[in-house]
Each structure stands twice: as structure tokens, then as C-alpha cells.
């Protein structure tokens, strides 16, 4: 059975160093959709076990009030990732994020460990989801294979820093160097029916630039963005808030499809536009976004 959280709303996924108590004690007050506890790059080599320990106790003790708990594990080329998975699953995480994913086999390797950990720690089978961060040219080219590698995988994310290094360039602020990867990832994700997330924006003082980038990836079809500072959250949520006219339309579409389905009618018009069942998921998603943004007053 599919984990019902696989399709949950993920507009913002906030990075937190798993080792820093001040960061992980109550990040939910900023209301991101997902929290990503990092065991990888943010943690110094000689602090890896300390970070795991602090993460374990935080996840066991703190009520994260509805935020999804994602744990970014160390790369599969290290000897750390297997223990990271055991620790995160035992602690009760919702998602394991694979860093530097390059092939479908990477996903399968993690899937096997997650499954084993679920068994070991008595968690229901399938309760832990997987997402894959793509950080290299090889990973980008294998996106389609990665997206389809596991039933547990809910989405993929572009990691721009490492990817541009592999591309032998750097982040320019214009987005031109990421254009190809963004297009390939979103297309691959949609083709496989999974979600797709954009990379972080690290120039914290450039609110204007951040806003432009979020507007762009929103238009491109991305489900959300990785966040490095809580002050970026409200901007993403604002841009992902549907307009009132779109909410009204979506509401009509959902109601009409529900009632027409009962009457056996497949195609009909709403406000002069031709509508069929293909509009249903999109309309539902608009309602869900409107609810999450606090602008939906209806009863759907």
C-alpha cells in the first residue's frame, strides 16, 4: 500500500545541522513543510557520531508539530550511511534523503537498508520514504532511472552546488548554468509521477533574487525549494499560494467532476472551459495549497 504521505505538500524543505541544538529544538515555529536534518556536509568528520546521537534524541523527544522529518544521510561512498539509516529510522524519521544519487542502484541499496531498519526497530513496512538528491551530471542523466527505482521514492531534488562543480562552472545567480538540469529533473520526475525540488539559494541578503528564482521554479513546475534560512520560507509559501480566482475555479472543477462522475458524464464545461477527469488532481492540489497557505475558506 502506498504511504499516504508520498504525495504530501512540500513547498519548503529547511536544512538544519543535526548537531546544533539551537537549530533543531524548535524549527517548526517557522512552519516549513519539511525539516531536513543534515548528517552529511554540515557535520564535521569527527562529529558524525555526536550528530547522530543528538538527532536520535531530538527526533525521539521533540514534537515537530506536523513538519515532515527528513534525514540527509552521508554519501554511499562513505562507511557512515548505513548506520545513519539505522539511527534515523530508529528515531522515527519520515524520510531518508540520499545524497549524491547517481543511479537507480543507489536508490535500491538505500531502500534495502531502510527496509531492514524498519524491521529491526519495529516500524511498519513502508513507513519511511526516500528522496534522492542529484548532485552530478551522471545523476542528472540518470534521473529517469532514479525516479523509477523504488516505490518508496517520493521525489528528487537538485543540489546545485555540487552539480555546478561537476559541470566545471559555478552558481552565477542567473540560473543559466542550472537550466538544463532543472528541465531534465522536472521532466523525469513528472514522467515517473514523483515530486521535484529545487536547490538552495544561499545569497540570503538578496531577497529580490530569491523571489525571482522561486517564481521561476514555480512556473517550471517544481513542487518546492530547499531552504537554508527560515526567512526564506514565507516568500516561497507566498509565491506558491494560489490566486483566489484559481481557488474558486479549482473548487468548481472538483465539485463538478464529483457530481458529473456520478451521472456518468466525462467531459463538460466550467466557466466556459472544457473540463475532464485529467483536471482533477491539479484542482485538488490547488485546494490543498490554498489550505496550507491559510487562504481557503471552503469546505472541500
Amino acid at each position: 500500500m502506498m504511504n499516504p504521505d508520498k504525495k504530501r505538500l512540500r513547498r519548503t524543505m529547511m536544512f538544519l545541522n543535526a548537531q546544533k541544538p539551537s537549530l533543531i529544538k524548535d524549527p517548526y515555529i517557522y512552519k516549513p513543510d519539511s525539516l531536513m536534518f543534515d548528517l552529511e556536509d554540515a557535520v564535521a568528520e569527527n562529529q558524525k557520531d555526536a550528530a547522530r546521537f543528538s538527532l536520535y534524541h531530538a527526533l525521539r523527544t521533540i514534537d515537530y508539530r506536523g513538519c515532515e522529518k527528513v534525514v540527509r544521510i552521508n554519501g554511499l561512498d562513505t562507511d557512515l550511511w548505513k548506520e545513519d539509516i539505522r539511527c534515523a529510522v530508529a528515531a522515527g524519521c519520515d524520510v531518508i534523503r540520499i545524497s549524491k544519487t547517481e543511479t537507480g542502484a543507489d536508490v535500491k541499496a538505500v531502500e534495502a537498508r531502510v527496509e531492514a531498519a524498519e524491521k529491526e526497530f519495529g516500524r511498519p513496512e513502508g513507513s519511511v520514504l526516500i528522496m534522492a538528491a542529484i548532485e552530478s551530471c551522471k545523476g542528472v542523466l540518470n534521473a529517469q532511472e532514479i525516479c523509477g527505482a523504488s516505490e518508496r521514492l517520493f521525489g528528487i531534488a537538485l543540489s546545485g552546488g555540487d552539480y555546478t562543480k561537476d559541470l566545471q562552472t559555478s552558481i552565477s545567480g542567473t540560473g543559466v548554468e542550472l537550466m538544463g538540469a532543472r528541465q531534465i529533473l522536472i521532466i523525469a520526475a513528472r514522467a515517473a509521477g514523483v515530486q521535484c525540488f529545487d536547490t538552495v539559494y544561499t545569497d540570503l541578503d538578496n531577497e529580490e533574487g530569491f523571489r525571482r528564482e522561486v517564481e521561476m521554479i514555480h512556473t517550471m513546475g517544481f513542487d518546492g525549494k530547499s531552504i537554508v534560512n527560515p526567512r526564506q520560507i514565507h516568500i516561497v509559501h507566498e509565491i506558491y499560494t494560489p490566486a483566489q480566482k484559481d481557488i474558486f475555479f479549482a473548487e468548481k472543477v472538483v465539485r463538478e467532476i464529483d457530481s458529473k462522475k456520478a451521472q456518468g458524464i466525462g467531459v463538460f464545461t466550467v466557466d466556459g472551459k472544457m473540463i475532464d477527469i485529467a483536471f482533477y488532481d491539479g484542482a485538488k492540489r490547488t485546494i490543498e495549497l490554498a489550505k496550507a497557505s491559510g487562504v481557503y475558506k471552503g469546505d472541500l
Binding site: 524548535d26 515555529i29 517557522y30 540570503l204 534560512n229 527560515p230 491559510g294
Partner: protein, 519 residues
């Protein structure tokens, strides 16, 4: 005897101090009394000089002796050199039982610690104490009591004669040889001399200490020559780098910005936010951020402030410079921008008496619409504690907190729900310094609580989409994070009293007890 905030004030303290227990903010409204008058030693002979060559000489000229009351002001903040300079001479002269009446004491004054321990200083009246001084008082090393007063309450105690100042020392950034002094124009500028005004009016001997003597007349004078007995020139009255620092960079701490946003959203949804409103805010990151945010909304909505009060900082002065407020009323300047802004024609110096004294014929705080405050702890009765740390040690100052909270139509306290590992919203504050009847709203990072006494405010903001919670809910969230803290362990001896602004006793501070672990 139990007072109006439910604190039990020991009878022996009431006897010892001759004070009453706190009976509510307006208990003394309409109270009649006669102000005390100072001794005046006339200067008629034009040949007479007020200049003295040293602190020692001026102390002798004032006839200093054991048991006298010496007063100081704190506009030089952590850069102050006056208190230590004068008290060193007092100590060297072997004087004992000095009562120190300082508008505030900070970490700059840790040189007083041995003088407390050896009985040079046996009583302290101050808005607050920090660092080592707070520690030695809490350890019971001050022979007499520490009276923690609000800025308005201090003036009340002087004007009413409860405290008779023998010698007032006024550090002045500029002064002439006849004693006209000002907070600007020198090398150690502090802007204004508001807290020293009552001292100059009511002390028997008034000594001006300056490091920047200017030719007569030093006009406009914030304190007039007519009140000054002696003038002493010294090398340096303060460390300019610690008196007024560059304006704090606007905070980028998202938690503080979030609290500031909540505060501003609350303010603009109250009926008081309209053309002609008045406003005071503190120096904390969130308070400053809320002033910046407010200025933006005032501009968008075309709303103008009638007056701002402070404790001033750059964001409030910016509101004046942008011509969004008619005038600023100034009792203290916290950064160089505020000091510099004193020269603005609509930036007015006011005395602490005009600012906050409850025992005059009406103070500025009574005309405030909004005040934005901070607090170490707030309890479910909305009582605040701004003086005693959660470890039981004296570590803060009342300042204008109780005065402005009592006066303003809408007093808002901003505090993170958990400070470090200590819940800031709790069942009972360690020590009450501002009564809950004065506090209307508590803004935290977890939501906003409105005092149930203010049904009008609840009604006004009910549809504003604010994250409203009850104060008990906030307390419960805090406790769910930190656990319910055990009470601090105190000894029996009372070492200090929290004096209400009207002179009654709000609470007592007891000697701290060495913590002993118990299962």
C-alpha cells in the same frame, strides 16, 4: 502581609522600611503631599569660583561624612567612569555607611564590590544592578537593603523626601565653570541628562564633573547653574565607545523578526493605531525591528505619530528624520545616531520627572498609546520580572518598565517563549517587578496572549488572523519543551526590595542559597 499581586511581604520589612504593601496601580491617585526642599547655599559674590581642582577637594567642600547619601546618573551606561572615580575617593577617605542612590548600576561599576563588602556602602537604591554587584547583594553581603526602583519611582522617592540626597554627582559631557551643563558638545557625549535632573533639583550639594569645560554660558543648558554648587574638571568622565555605540545592525534573527511582525500586526489592528498616536519602544532586537516595520506601515497608510518617547535608538530617530512624527521626547540615548539627533529641533529633552514620576501632576507615560517592552519572565497573571534572574540573582533593571506599562493604553511585552533553557512564560515569576494589571499583551515566537482584563483588545483583533493563544496555553507549550522548572532555593534573609513606582513594596528579593541537589 499579602499585596495586590499576591506576594507575601514580611512584617519586619514593612517595619524596617516604613513602607506599605502594593495595593494596585492607582491606589495613590489624588494623594496630596508637600515636596521636599533642598538646602541652598547662596552664591552672591561675583568673585567666587565654583571650580574645584579634584574630587577629594569637592568632597571636603561638601562636608562629606559617614552615613551620607550620594547620587549618580547612568547616562554613560557601561562607559561610566564617574561612580568609580568618586567612590574610590570616598573609600580612600575611610568613610562608612554610604547610601548609594544611583539611577542605575552596571558591569562598569564592579569596583564597588569590595566597598560593599567592607561596609563603605551599606544601602543601594537603583533601578537595577548587574554582574558582580548583583551577585554580592544576592549573597547577602550588603549590610542594608537594595531598593530596586523604576525611573519614575526613583524621582518620586527624591521629590517626596523619602530619600534625601546629600551630594549629587552629575557627569556632564560639557559644562561651564558656573555649572551649566549639557549632554552634547563634548568628547563623551551621552545626549541628555534626564535622570540627573531631580538630583540637581533636590540634593543639598550638587557637583558637576566634566571632561570638557567650555566658556560661560554653556547654552542651552539641560541642568542650570542655579542648582550647581561646584564644578570639577577631570580627564575623562566616560569611555565614548561604551556610552553610545554605533546603531545596532537591524536583526537578521528570524525568530526576533517573527516576534516583531506579530507585535506590529497587533499594534496596527488596535483602535489606538491612528493619526496622532504615541509610541515607545525598547532596545532589544525585536523591539527595534518592530519600530522599523511600523514606520513602513505608517508610510503606506499615511498615518503620522504625534510623539515618540525613549530610551531612543536610531529607528525612532529615523521616524523623526523621515518626518513621520511631530516630536521625540528623550530621556536617554542608546546609540550615536540618537545622541546626534538631540540637535534636531523637534527632538526634546525631558527630565525623568516629566517622563515617569507618578507623584507629580501628570507624567508623559500617562499619555502613551503604545509601549513595547521586554521581560525576563512573564507569568500567567501577566506579572513581569525584569530584575531577578531565574537563578534568583539580581541581574537586571526596572528602568521605565513599570512606569510605561502602567501609563500606556496598550503595553506589549515581547519575549521568546523559552530563553535558553528557561521558560519565559511561567506559572509564577521569580519576582514581580511590573504588576499584571499593567501588562496588556504578551508577544512570543509561539503566539500572542492578551490579558483577559482587556476584552476590548481581544474584540479589536479577533478577525486579524493573529496567532492568538491564552497565556496558560503559552505557559503549557513552554513547559512541554523545558519541563516545569523547580523553584529557586532562597535563604530567609531579605536582601532587596522591589519598590513599586508609588513607593509601596511589590516584592522582596531574598538571599540566594547554594543549590543543593535533591531527588
Amino acid at each position: 502581609m499579602i499585596n495586590a499581586v499576591g506576594r507575601d511581604i514580611p512584617e519586619e520589612i514593612l517595619r524596617l522600611t516604613g513602607k506599605e504593601v502594593f495595593q494596585g496601580n492607582n491606589h495613590f491617585d489624588g494623594y496630596e503631599y508637600r515636596r521636599q526642599a533642598p538646602k541652598v547655599k547662596c552664591v552672591i559674590d561675583p568673585e567666587k569660583s565654583k571650580l574645584r581642582s579634584s574630587i577629594r577637594e569637592v568632597l571636603e567642600a561638601c562636608g562629606i561624612k559617614d552615613g551620607m547619601t550620594l547620587s549618580f546618573h547612568h547616562h554613560f551606561r557601561e562607559g561610566d567612569k564617574i561612580v568609580n572615580m568618586v567612590m574610590k575617593e570616598v573609600h580612600d577617605m575611610g568613610l562608612k555607611d554610604i547610601r548609594l542612590c544611583a539611577s542605575s548600576l552596571g558591569k562598569a561599576h564592579e569596583a564597588l564590590v569590595p566597598m560593599i563588602e567592607d561596609g563603605t556602602i551599606t544601602e543601594i537604591r537603583s533601578s537595577g544592578v548587574r554582574g558582580e554587584i548583583g551577585k554580592v547583594i544576592s549573597e547577602g553581603k550588603l549590610k542594608g537593603l537594595a531598593y530596586m526602583q523604576s525611573h519614575g519611582g526613583r524621582v518620586r522617592s527624591i521629590v517626596s523626601g523619602e530619600v534625601k540626597i546629600d551630594i549629587a554627582f552629575i557627569g556632564a559631557p560639557t559644562a561651564d565653570d558656573y555649572g551649566n551643563c549639557s549632554g552634547i558638545g563634548g568628547t563623551s557625549d551621552c545626549g541628555v541628562l534626564s535622570y540627573a535632573a531631580a538630583d540637581a533639583d533636590y540634593a543639598d550639594n550638587v557637583v558637576v564633573i566634566t571632561d570638557h569645560l567650555v566658556p560661560f554660558p554653556n547654552m542651552p543648558a539641560q541642568i542650570s547653574m542655579t542648582k550647581v554648587d561646584y564644578v570639577v574638571q577631570v580627564d575623562q568622565i566616560g569611555d565614548p565607545a561604551k556610552i553610545a555605540t554605533g546603531a545596532a545592525k537591524p536583526t537578521s534573527d528570524v525568530r526576533k523578526l517573527m516576534m516583531a511582525d506579530n507585535c506590529t500586526s497587533f499594534v496596527i489592528n488596535t483602535p489606538y493605531f491612528k493619526d496622532g498616536f504615541s509610541y515607545q519602544t525598547g532596545v532589544g532586537g525585536a523591539s527595534i525591528a518592530s519600530a522599523v516595520a511600523l514606520s513602513k506601515i505608517m508610510k503606506e497608510r499615511g498615518i503620522r505619530m504625534r510623539f515618540g518617547v525613549g530610551g531612543l535608538t536610531k529607528p525612532m530617530c529615523d521616524i523623526l528624520n523621515n518626518d513621520q512624527v511631530d516630536c521625540l521626547l528623550d530621556t536617554q540615548d542608546f546609540d550615536l545616531d540618537a545622541v546626534e539627533n538631540v540637535k534636531h529641533p523637534r527632538h526634546f529633552y525631558i527630565s525623568a520627572d516629566e517622563y515617569a514620576n507618578p507623584f507629580n501632576k501628570g507624567a508623559v507615560v500617562n499619555r502613551l498609546d503604545f509601549v513595547i517592552l521586554a521581560s525576563l519572565e512573564v507569568d500567567v497573571h501577566f506579572n513581569c520580572n525584569v530584575v531577578v534572574g531565574s537563578d534568583g540573582v539580581l541581574t537586571g533593571a526596572q528602568g521605565g518598565h513599570p512606569d510605561t506599562a502602567a501609563g500606556a493604553k496598550c503595553s506589549i511585552v515581547i519575549t521568546p517563549l523559552v530563553q535558553g533553557r528557561i521558560p519565559a512564560v511561567c506559572t509564577d515569576v521569580t519576582t514581580v517587578t511590573t504588576p499584571g494589571e499593567s501588562v496588556d499583551v504578551v508577544v512570543t515566537d509561539y503566539g500572542i496572549a492578551i490579558n483577559p482584563r482587556r476584552q476590548d483588545l481581544m474584540e479589536a483583533v479577533k478577525d486579524a488572523g493573529l496567532p492568538l493563544r491564552t497565556i496558560e496555553e503559552l505557559r503549557d507549550i513552554a513547559y512541554s519543551i523545558t519541563g516545569e522548572p523547580k523553584k529557586v532555593q532562597f535563604g530567609d534573609r531579605v536582601v532587596g526590595i522591589i519598590e513599586s513606582r508609588d513607593g509601596t513594596i511589590m516584592d522582596v528579593v531574598r538571599e540566594v542559597k547554594e543549590f543543593s541537589f535533591a531527588e
